[in-house]
């Protein structure tokens, strides 16, 4: 099984060393973004799937470009 995970705490991810991680500077309880914000949640979900598909280096931590506030999602 191939895995991809979201992280909200980079230091813990660095210590645990999961194979593929998408890191977001978001509050706890908001791994996919804001409640009811489908464009945001879908974008993050698809980014994670894309990471799963493209990662070639074990232990990769991809930092999300999306800010918690003031970010527009199509």
């Amino acid at each position: 099984m191939s895995t991809v995970g979201i992280s909200l705490v980079r230091t813990i991810t660095v210590a645990i060393k999961p194979p593929r991680t998408y890191f977001l500077r978001y509050p706890f309880g908001h791994a996919l973004g804001e409640a009811g914000n489908r464009p945001q949640q879908t974008t993050i979900f698809k980014d994670c799937l894309n990471l799963l598909e493209t990662a070639r280096v074990p232990g990769i931590i991809l930092e999300s470009p999306y800010r918690w506030r003031g970010q527009r999602f199509a």
Binding site: S2, V4, T11, I12, F28, A35, G36, Q41, K46, L49
Partner: protein, 169 residues
Amino acid sequence: MKNKPIKRFKMALFKIPWVRQRWEEKFTPVTSEAIPWTPLTKPLARCTIALITTGGVHLKNDAPFNMDDKDGDPSYRTIPSTATKSDLMITHDYYDHTDADSDINLVLPIDILRACQEEGIVGRSSEFFYSLMGHIVLPHLPYLVEKTAKEIATALQGQGVDIVFLVPA
């Protein structure tokens, strides 16, 4: 929930950036030497996918996670992948899940996954998804690693899962 106002206050403190940063600096996580790696061997659209959350999600008619043990509850809950938001609830005193209560996709993206499946981006769901609570400390770590994690992994293999998407609280 015991001491509910105090726990809510503590959770609210984590919204202050320096409080959270201080917690991150002081937290001592389990460390790993090796990085597990299973390459993706087929297109996503042909993959069977499972979701795992540490957000304390469970079926409303299932037993809640144990909030009386300060060291956490290392057990897991099984969630049919056909479950809907109205079937689910969250029991987890260690993060503010007010928003996730109103939109479960924040910690278990069931609707987002279904939309991606309708678009043909990813294949079918496994029969079951899995949920844990993400506040489990030392006394329960052996149980978590040796029993819970292995049982979930075995169950996923039995369902022919190709890819797993993990979501924290």
